[in-house]
Amino acid sequence: MINLAGRDILHSWGKFAFTGIGLGLLIGATLTMAGVYRGMVDDAKVLLTNSGADLWVVQKDTLGPYAESSSLHDDVYRSILGMPGVAQAANVTYLTMQVRRGDNDVRAMVVGFEPGQPGEPGYLTAGRQITRSHYEAVADVKTGFQLGERIKIRRHEYTVVGLTRRMVSSGGDPMVFIPLKDAQEAQFLKDNDAILNERARTAANPGLNRPGVPGLLEAIQASQASNRNVNAVLVRVRDGETPDEVAAGIRRWKHLQAYTRAQMEEILVAKLIATSAKQIGMFLVILAIVSAAIVAFIIYTMTLGKIREIAVLKLIGTRSRTIAGMILQQALGLGLIGFVVGKIAATFWAPAFPKYVLLETGDALRGFIAVMLICALASTLAIRAALRVDPATAIGG
């Protein structure tokens, strides 16, 4: 038996192919939107994974260090190391800022970490880890920095010695890793004008600049220029200990806040990126509905365009099942081409997005099933119209 659908497609294959490709681009846009949403959530999760920590210890009553600002003294980690169940504890600072390279600058999250401790970049794609205790940096490739390049953070120049990948803040800004002491300085060091202003202001205060007490002013000014704070302490618990118990101990005895991985994910996904993720999610829903409607209308109008030929088929006594099969096969074929084109298109343009677009296989499968279902549903509309056609139209025109 001749495949009716195939013959019909061959008859007007150009129209069919271009409709398929157009539909594919629409499906590609929908898949990309899903990818943007997944990418946002993944950015938040990858931030937690990359820190390599089991617990985040932050200032009491804050949701730090990512969702809220948190400030701890940098010797807190020593007392945390003494808690039962703690294997490693390390200071870390996070600061989103502009990193200068030559004449332009890149928005990046500057991470201050201690080598060999949690917070260190877990893997590199080029170069080496930091070996000097100052003025070296490991950067995410998204920053565009090259190995050996000099970048400027505040007043100091850093040499890029290593590159890494997928190390981003929850906002998608690429990370730049620098030694902790430099980061502490970068976080709190003001520019020279501000420092001079501050000195002058202190010197003008008669209480701090007493004529009879030499050295007092200098001591006060020195204490103003130094910083002994960090944003969080990353804790790795001993093998076999449960993070929840260790966190409870720290919360109770150290008067600090400690979050486990699950709590941190909750903070990041449910609080930090909730609004923007919902925004994207809303748009995704609308785009999916619009795509479905367009697919349905395309198939419906395609069938209506062939109404004369169908009337002829009916006239010569073709069974309804054959006609219905033809329409259904065409609809499914269109959906298949659309999906394949969409998937290819989405994969091709996803890397061009400034932020991470995560195309999940699960999403693609769900998308495929949805496209096929919509095509099948839409074809029933078209089949109804086709079956109700009067064979006389073939002759009557």
Binding site: I2, H11, L124, T125, R128, T131, H134, L163, P214, V340
Partner: protein, 405 residues
């Protein structure tokens, strides 16, 4: 049942060529789809670079930053509160040891010296007067002695009454007492002179003390007070350093200071001229380490002092430790931490195996000696696109994206 959808007149050849093109299009689509499925998503392999565990020499090094300071710096100021009278030198002036640098206002010191000089002169006159009095008393004493002896003889021969003899004897005793008193007066007057002389010398020394002298050859680095300003005891009027004693006070992270020792050769890069490497060596390792910043402190002296360096300038110091021969060297990017274990991913027959290792010394260039855990000819995974797990599918490549320059 046979039917035909109406087709254009040109017939089946056209249909065949259309069919051909359509299948080409479909095939291309499927091919592209296949490539995408294989290259991205869960089926895609993780691209990695590997390095053979090598034998070689590494030079471990310590890196620290410091500031240029003077080993000997002097704060020159008065020992008592006072007003600055004049300052004779300015910042940058080279001075010699003993040179007058500044002077404090002596207020009434000169007048007090003049007064004491006058007192001394008067005391000298008092001595002369006492001397004369003593001589007078002595003469009286002698006369009284002769008279007493004479009257005693006459009394023995009964020429004079015994009361006259007693009167003369009493005169003699009084004259001796007068002589004693005159001698004591003279001695007191001499001591007074001595006291006044000592007082005057003390005042002269105080007068000298308001003159601020250079304790050593050096360069003035600061002029903190101007003539007319009041300073308290111990406050600096001028600051002086010995330029030949400049060194770099360097701080090394305690965690990476193993091997810090006296005499290690150092390479110093000044912030003003980072491209120029200056040589020096460790001349002091402080016993006290900074417990707040967790840093050790060492002083690095220049081999030859460079021209035009400034105090307080930032310097980067690299200390070269003795070169060691290592049997197994790996890049530090390959060292990973899993839980409490430190290890490397060894690439063996297309799969990754986590091997626990014991790292030893490391060089600043990123080479790490492996003391234990690796064998001859092992290949370790250095770079990877993502975190590796034991069941990652791997694809070894020359270099990953972004390797750049």
């Amino acid at each position: 049942m046979k039917f035909s959808i109406p087709v254009p007149a040109s017939g089946s050849a056209l249909v065949r060529s259309r069919g051909f093109w359509l299948s080409v299009l479909l095939l291309a689509l499927l091919l592209a789809f296949g490539v995408i499925v294989a290259r991205s998503g869960p089926l895609a392999p993780t691209r990695v670079t590997v390095a053979k565990v090598g034998e070689g020499a590494i030079t471990p090094a310590l890196f620290g930053i410091g500031t240029i300071e003077a080993r000997r710096a002097y704060l020159i100021g008065p020992t008592t509160a006072g007003r600055v009278l004049r300052v004779l030198v300015d910042v940058g002036d080279r001075v010699k040891a003993g040179q007058l640098l500044a002077e404090m206002d002596p207020v009434d010191l000169d007048e007090r010296i003049t007064a004491l000089d006058a007192s001394l002169a008067r005391a000298g006159n008092a001595v002369t007067a006492s001397e004369a009095q003593r001589r007078d008393a002595e003469a009286r004493n002698q006369l009284a002695g002769i008279n007493a002896r004479r009257y005693k003889d006459l009394g023995d021969k009964k020429f004079v009454s015994s009361s006259a003899v007693e009167a003369k004897l009493q005169e003699e005793i009084s004259a001796r007492a007068g002589l004693n008193a005159a001698e004591a007066n003279l001695s007191a007057a001499r001591q007074d002179t001595l006291r006044l002389g000592a007082e005057r010398d003390g005042l002269r020394q105080q007068r000298g003390n308001v003159r601020l002298l250079a304790p050593s050859d050096g360069v003035i680095t600061a002029r903190d007070a101007e003539p007319g300003s009041t300073v308290v005891a111990g406050q600096a009027v001028l600051r002086l350093i010995e330029p030949a004693s400049l060194w770099v006070k360097t701080r090394f992270d305690q965690g990476r200071s193993a091997g810090l020792a006296l005499g290690l050769p150092a390479e110093i890069a000044l912030r003003s001229d980072p491209a120029r490497a200056l040589s020096g060596k460790v001349v002091r390792v402080d016993l006290l380490s900074d417990s707040v910043t967790e840093e050790r402190i060492a002083q690095i002296a220049f081999d030859t002092l460079p021209e035009g360096i400034s105090l307080g300038e930032l310097a980067e110091v690299t200390l070269k430790l003795p070169t060691i021969e290592a049997k197994f060297l790996v890049p530090n990017a390959s060292i990973k931490r899993r839980g409490e274990q430190v290890g490397v991913w060894v690439h063996r027959s297309g799969a990754a195996h986590f091997v626990v290792v014991k790292p030893g010394k490391a060089s600043l260039g990123g080479q790490v000696e492996i003391v234990d855990g690796l064998g001859e000819g092992d290949q370790v995974i250095v770079h990877s696109e993502r975190e590796i797990t034991a069941d990652s599918r791997l694809k070894v490549v020359e270099s990953l994206a972004g390797a750049g320059k």
